[in-house]
């Protein structure tokens, strides 16, 4: 029994403390270093933050270059997949186009009326900055849903700015480096956005699920959402302006996003401010 315990201790000591053949550091030293980095990072130690920013700048660029061959494969795979669904897509788009043409006419009138009314109540918000950025890294990790874009503090990117794919909201900026930024996608578990569901007019919070859909949460009472209702930003909390389209209600509280987060290549980063009279 004693000997067994001794063997265990010797094996552990040999594995963790002794430096192996051709090893410059012992495992124990590097494990302690990792823990120190974690703890200092948690308490926002300034030196660690500078190291983090430098490493991030370097790694994001390297990762983009290393990802080039894989991106070719991914594009090839997506093109092949699309090829088999072209005809169905075409039929759907034809139908959708007809509806859209009729909607545009109505929409133009409503938009101009809305602008006029909002100006009256001093709530007309304009886009102050619109920066187009390229997606550098899109890992589609099952744990954290975020992308890295090639614009940073150098280009006036600030924390919390809205990120759009065309006209659809896809996320917000959560980390800003000098030439790059990280965007937390709406599908991430940690994403919470105040929304309005139209035409019912419910106010709620849209949470990411870590998958390709979102979920409506934190509504005061049991709300009955109709399939096909549209989810917009509500503008509460002054994070985003109201009325940015996000997605549609699929079933119960499940939301299907308008934008396909796996296909993001270029995105718009914008901030909003009130129009000065």
């Amino acid at each position: 029994m004693e000997a067994g315990r001794d063997d265990f201790v010797i094996a552990i000591r040999s594995a963790f403390i002794q430096r192996g053949n051709k090893q410059r550091f012992s495992l124990f030293f590097l494990l302690i270093l990792s823990i120190i980095l974690l703890v200092l990072g948690k308490f926002n130690f300034s030196v660690i933050n500078y190291i983090k920013i430098s490493v991030k700048e370097l790694v994001y660029r390297s990762s983009f270059i290393v990802s080039v061959p894989e991106n070719y494969l991914i594009d090839g795979y997506i093109n092949l997949k699309d090829h088999f669904t072209y005809y169905d897509h075409y039929q759907d788009l034809k139908k959708e186009n007809k509806e859209l043409i009729s909607n545009i006419e109505n929409n133009n009138f409503v938009v101009s009326e809305n602008i006029r009314l909002k100006k009256i109540i001093d709530d007309y918000i304009i886009v102050s900055d619109e920066i187009v950025a390229k997606v550098l890294i899109d890992k589609q990790s099952p744990f954290l849903r975020s992308i890295i874009v090639n614009k940073g503090s150098k280009d006036n990117i600030k924390l919390g700015m809205a990120v759009l794919d065309g006209e659809f909201l896809v996320g917000k900026v959560v980390e800003v480096n000098y030439t790059t930024s990280r965007v937390l996608l709406l599908s991430d578990l940690n994403s919470k956005i105040p929304v309005t569901i139209e035409p019912e007019g419910y106010q709620s919070i849209l949470s990411g699920t870590g998958k390709n859909d979102g979920i409506i949460q934190y509504s005061k009472e049991e709300i009955s959402l109709e399939e096909g209702s549209t989810v917009f930003t509500s503008g509460s909390g002054a994070i985003f302006k109201s009325g940015i389209p996000i997605g549609k209600i699929l079933e119960k509280t499940k939301v299907s996003y308008f934008s396909d987060f796996s296909q993001l290549r270029f995105i718009k980063i914008i901030s909003f401010e009130k129009e000065e009279n």
């Binding site: 063997d7 010797i10 094996a11 552990i12 040999s14 594995a15 963790f16 192996g20 053949n21 051709k22 090893q23 410059r24 550091f25 012992s26 495992l27 590097l30 494990l31 270093l33 990792s34 823990i35 120190i36 980095l37 974690l38 990072g41 948690k42 660690i48 190291i51 983090k52 490493v55 991030k56 790694v59 994001y60 390297s62 990762s63 290393v66 990802s67 894989e70 991914i74 795979y77 997506i78 890294i137 890992k139 589609q140 990790s141 099952p142 744990f143 954290l144 975020s146 980390e175 990280r182 578990l189 940690n190 699920t209 870590g210 998958k211 390709n212 796996s262």
Partner: protein
Amino acid sequence: MSRFGKGKILNKLLELGPIFLLYISVLNEFDFNYLQLTYFSFNFPFILIFYWSLKKPEHLGYGLIFFAGVINDVVIGFPIGMSSFTYLLICGFAAYLKNITLRPSILKDWLFFLFSVLAVSSLSYSALVLFFQFKLNYLDIIINIIFTFFLYVIIANIFEFYQKLISNRDKND
């Protein structure tokens, strides 16, 4: 002389293969996420680090594994040091298994790999959720562990073939 020089360079490059593969995999994850398979993901660096730390630790320096972990944290957005910690623990488990094993067998390695991945993932999950207030889907992690476990045998066999290739070249030289 020239042939001798070229052979040596090639051998050196082959020996550096696991390190290259580790750095490429952390910069550009080999997880086929783009296939959008709802329940499929695996942790390639865990397999690579465990296998090479167990069989040929001299091909995979601990310092380089530490930096690979830092890079992985930056790429996926985890707190700096988390992946380094998990990778080094995997190294530790592999080194321990190497120390206590007299007759190596793939089955023993495989089962110990499962134990190591479970222990390390539990630790990192607890640290991320409790200490860093991250929200993580428990089911996704379990699925990731299961696929990592099953793919270990396949990838370990490929690595074994690669390792034999290096050994044969060394013997011939």
